[in-house]
Each structure stands twice: as structure tokens, then as C-alpha cells.
């Protein structure tokens, strides 16, 4: 038996969190220099699930690339495919029927809800409360069933097409969605009483993981991370796309800059998504779901095109540099969690390790989306 290691006062040691660690929800590694329980310095190490989606974008036609987009963020995949089809439609000048855009908005919001529910359950589980995950997954199951019926997939959707949709929604979907909304509202009240109002939960999050608005700007943080730091920014409002201007909804903003603020933003966002779905179902126009005039093989004009959308995690951007061919000359994916995660290294300095993990969860990370 070797003698126990004795650290001198002020001497630090290196702790590897991950790449296989349940709190990182994926293969993410953070190399932490520790002084006892306090983090002196942290360095995030990425690339464990890097698949080079950008190179695949150069090798495939625009339509062949569609399934790739839903493999970035497997929890909120529809938002990413939405960005891609919007960009192609913008660059190629394809008009999308109104009904298709409404269905896109409804399904994207359902997907956002599913993503937030999963995050909510996992986050509370990270903090030691197991039961809320079970409730959250039950609610999420209703959404996945609805989406599966129309899109044919439960997670990795390939539902949107350039100019419209692959499949129209039927009466069953509309009825199920209308039944789901009051159910979900009841659940949100339950979550507020069970989790948000819990004093132990509050004590673990309040004042932990401070991110200033200026830090958000320097790192390009978006989504709930920016909105929890008092920044009123949501691509759906700031740079409206699709049919979002038709809906009446609010952007929840909290000014505390801590993990609790980010938690509350996402909890409030679920109610706003329900409002959008409710209005979308009420207003859903008839008509075709696919554009009539649409080239069979899509070629984009020569140029450089960009499209941003608000996904469950923040502002997702996609850029295509086209040389006029049927596939992209260069395709760049700007993923929101990449920027949100980047500020972790700086923000967690001086934090205790268990606070840092509570802080990491509040960033809502999906690692395949960072690594692409």
C-alpha cells in the first residue's frame, strides 16, 4: 500500500470531468485545476463526437443534406432542419404555402417543448431530485407520439422539404395537440409547485453561475443563457422569420444573471410555446403544403447566404457559400451551445465543483451539437 498523497497548502491538482461523466450529458471533457473543492482554472476539451457535418455538406446535394441537420441536436432537431430549408428557400426564391409555414411553426414549438421538458427533468436529476424526470418524460412522450404520427420519426426528424412539408397533419394530430395544451398547462403548475418553489432547489441555483450581459456579448451567447442575463434577444422577435410575426407571444427575460434565472426563462418559455401552438392550431389555414413551382434539382445562385433561427438552445445560424452547383461550396453551421459552452471556462473560475456542475446544467448542453 502506498502512502496517501499529501498536498502542500496552495498546491493544486488536476481533475478530469468526463469525457464519460453523467453530469456532462454526453462526451464532454473538462480539465479542471483544483485547489481543494475550488476550481482554479478550467479547460474544456471538445471533439469526442465530432463528425465533420460541414464536410458532408460539401459532398451532398442540398436535399441529401437534410437528414444531417437533425443529427446535430437530437433533442430539438426540427429547429435545425427549419433553418436549413429556410435558407435554401431564401436563396433559391421558393415561395412556401401558408399552411406549411403554420405547421412548421406548430411542430417546431412542440419540439422546443419536448426539448425543454427533457432538459428540465435531467437538470433536476443532476441536482439530486429524481422524480420530476419521470413526470417530464411522461409529458414529453405525448409530444413524441404526436410528432411521430406526422413526421415518421421520434427524434431525428426529416419532415420539412424545400418549399413545404413531407406530410400533411391530420385531424388526429390537431385533436391530440388541442388535448395536450391544457394537460401541459396543468403540468407546468405542478412543476412550479414541485421544483421552482422548492427551497433546497432555489438555494442551489440562486447566485450561482453569474454571467454578465457583457460576457454574453463577448462570447456570443444566445438563447436562455442571454435571456437569463437580462438580454431581450430572441431571433423569432429580433429577426422575424416564418409566420412568427402572426403570433402573440412574449420573450421571458430575467435579470439575475444566475442559474435560477436561466431555469426560469426556460420554464416560462414552455408556456409561450403553448401559446404559439394554441394560436397556430386556431388559425391553421387550408390549402396545399408544398410549393407548386419548385425546381426538381435545387441549385443556388452564386453567392454567400445566411439564415438564423431560434432553436431550443439559442440562435442557430447556417451559411452556404454557393458556386452555382447542386451542392454547397462551403457550408458552415453556427451552433448556439458552442458559444454558450465557451464561456463556461471563464465563468466557473473560483467556483466550487458541485456549483460548477449545477451551472453547467443550466447552459442546456447537447454535445453532438457543439462538436458537429
Amino acid at each position: 500500500m502506498s502512502a496517501p498523497i499529501q498536498l502542500q497548502p496552495g498546491e493544486t491538482f488536476i481533475l478530469n470531468v468526463g469525457p464519460q461523466h453523467p453530469a456532462t450529458h454526453g462526451v464532454l471533457r473538462v480539465k479542471m485545476e483544483m485547489d481543494g473543492e475550488y476550481i482554479v482554472k478550467a479547460e474544456t476539451v471538445l471533439g469526442y463526437v465530432h463528425r465533420m457535418h460541414e464536410k458532408m455538406g460539401e459532398n451532398r446535394t442540398y436535399a441529401q443534406y437534410l437528414p444531417n441537420l437533425s443529427r446535430l441536436d437530437y433533442l430539438g432537431a426540427l429547429g435545425y432542419t427549419h433553418g436549413h430549408v429556410l435558407l435554401i428557400e431564401r436563396a433559391a426564391g421558393i415561395e412556401v404555402p401558408e399552411r406549411a409555414e403554420y405547421i412548421r411553426a406548430i411542430t417546431v414549438e412542440l419540439n422546443r417543448l419536448a426539448s425543454h421538458l427533457f432538459w428540465f427533468g435531467c437538470y433536476v436529476m443532476d441536482l439530486g431530485g429524481f422524480s420530476p424526470l419521470m413526470y417530464a418524460l411522461e409529458d414529453r412522450e405525448y409530444i413524441l407520439d404526436m410528432l411521430e404520427a406526422v413526421t415518421g420519426a421520434r427524434l431525428t426528424y426529416c419532415y420539412y422539404r424545400f418549399g413545404g412539408l413531407y406530410n400533411d397533419v391530420d385531424d388526429d394530430f390537431i385533436e391530440a395537440a388541442n388535448r395536450f395544451i391544457p394537460r401541459m398547462r396543468k403540468s407546468l403548475k405542478k412543476y412550479a409547485a414541485l421544483v421552482t418553489g422548492n427551497i433546497i432547489f432555489q438555494k442551489r441555483l440562486e447566485g450561482i453561475g453569474h454571467i454578465s450581459a457583457e460576457m454574453c456579448r463577448k462570447y456570443g451567447a444566445t438563447g436562455a443563457v442571454a435571456r437569463g442575463s437580462g438580454i431581450d434577444f430572441d431571433v423569432r422577435k429580433n429577426e422575424p422569420y416564418s409566420v412568427y410575426p402572426e403570433f402573440d407571444f412574449d420573450i421571458p427575460v430575467y435579470h439575475e444573471c444566475d442559474s435560477m434565472a436561466r431555469f426560469k426563462v426556460r420554464m416560462d418559455e414552455m408556456e409561450q410555446s403553448l401559446r404559439i401552438i394554441e394560436q397556430g392550431l386556431a388559425k391553421l389555414p387550408g390549402g396545399p403544403i408544398m410549393a407548386e413551382k419548385k425546381p426538381k434539382n435545387i441549385k443556388l445562385p452564386v453567392g454567400d447566404f445566411y439564415q438564423a433561427v431560434e432553436t431550443a438552445r439559442g440562435s442557430f445560424g447556417i451559411r452556404i457559400v454557393s458556386d452555382g452547383d447542386k451542392n454547397a461550396y462551403r457550408l458552415k453551421l453556427r451552433s448556439p451551445t458552442y458559444s454558450n459552452m465557451h464561456l463556461f471556462d471563464e465563468a466557473c473560475e473560483g467556483m466550487m465543483i458541485m456549483d460548477a456542475l449545477a451551472f453547467m446544467g443550466s447552459l442546456d448542453l447537447v454535445i453532438p451539437e457543439i462538436d458537429r
Binding site: 471538445l46 471533439g47 465530432h50 465533420m52 460541414e54 464536410k55 460539401e58 435558407l87 431564401r90 436563396a91 454574453c216 456579448r217 463577448k218 462570447y219 456570443g220 451567447a221 442571454a226 438580454i231 431581450d232 434577444f233 422577435k237 429580433n238 429577426e239 445562385p301 452564386v302 453567392g303 454567400d304 447566404f305 445566411y306 439564415q307 438564423a308 440562435s315 445560424g317 451559411r319 457559400v321 458556386d323 452555382g324 461550396y329 462551403r330 458552415k332 453556427r334 458552442y338 458559444s339 465557451h342 464561456l343 471563464e346 462538436d371 458537429r372
Partner: protein, 162 residues
């Protein structure tokens, strides 16, 4: 509003003779600021600068309160050049997206770092170095980010053979 003031500030980097009109698609363009049609392209201002003007251009953007979206590269192998593209956007409702680009020769791809202005440029520059081999002079930690730690290849170069 901000679009006009930013355009004028960026324009001051160039001599008066610099072209401020949209050139024909696909034709090589000189350095200068172009106002793009947002509906067609998805951004408002498109500025091409020389590599040594880059830091000055990004400082203008920083002082105007923009946040950094991303940094990426494009390999223009026919022109024997590498392009670095910087995207900036705003948090407020005065929507304005700015693209700043610079071109460097393929055999000497060196661009100054902007990590001193935007801390968030760190990973973006490392990623661009991974994929294109573009060196960011002054970067504090230019090691592979997404590729393996011993990677000596740059997969997004057009002459890359797997």
C-alpha cells in the same frame, strides 16, 4: 440606424476610391463595404478588408455593441486564396448583421487574432485553424479543438484527400 453608422465607420478604413456598389455575382471584388439585400442574403453589411485592417474593423464593430456569431473559412483554391469570414449581430431590435471577410494567400495563411477584442473568438479561431490551417497570429492557445490532438491535416481544404 445602426446600419448606416456602422457602414460609415467601416467605410472610413478605405480610401475614397473603394467601390461601395454591389459587384456582379461571382466576380472577384476589391476591399470595401457593400450593403446587401437582407431578404436575399440574410445579412446587411458585407465588408472585405485587408488582413492588417482586420483588428481595426473588428474594434469598430465591438465599440458599436455587436456580439460575435462565428468565424469560419473558405478555401478559394482556384484563386490560390483562403478567406476568413467573421459574423457579427446585435442583441437589440435595431437588426443589423455584419459580415467581415479577409483573404490571405494559401501558402502563407496568417491573420491577426481578435481574441483580445472578443474572448469568444478563441474557439472559433482554433476551429478555423483545425479545418483550414489558417494561423491566427497572437492566439494564446492555437491547438486542435475538434480534431484529434495530434492532427496535422486540414479537412476542409479543397485539395485534402482522406
Amino acid at each position: 440606424m445602426i446600419q448606416e453608422t456602422t457602414r460609415e465607420a467601416l467605410q472610413s478604413l478605405f480610401a475614397e476610391s473603394a467601390p461601395a456598389v454591389e459587384v456582379e455575382a461571382g466576380a472577384p471584388r476589391g476591399n470595401g463595404v457593400i450593403t446587401r439585400d437582407y431578404n436575399a442574403h440574410g445579412y446587411h453589411l458585407d465588408a472585405q478588408v485587408a488582413a492588417d485592417q482586420l483588428v481595426a474593423a473588428v474594434e469598430i464593430i465591438d465599440q458599436a455593441g455587436f456580439f460575435i456569431e462565428s468565424i469560419t473559412g473558405v478555401d478559394w483554391i482556384k484563386e490560390n486564396q483562403l478567406e476568413v469570414i467573421y459574423d457579427f449581430s446585435r442583441y437589440d431590435f435595431d437588426t443589423c448583421r455584419v459580415v467581415i471577410r479577409t483573404r490571405v494567400p494559401r501558402d502563407q495563411p496568417i491573420v491577426p487574432t481578435i481574441t483580445t477584442i472578443y474572448a469568444g473568438a478563441n474557439w472559433h479561431e482554433r476551429e478555423t485553424h483545425d479545418f483550414f490551417g489558417i494561423k491566427f497570429a497572437g492566439h494564446p492557445h492555437l491547438i486542435p479543438l475538434l480534431l484529434p490532438e495530434d492532427a496535422d491535416f486540414h479537412p476542409l481544404l479543397k485539395d485534402f484527400k482522406a
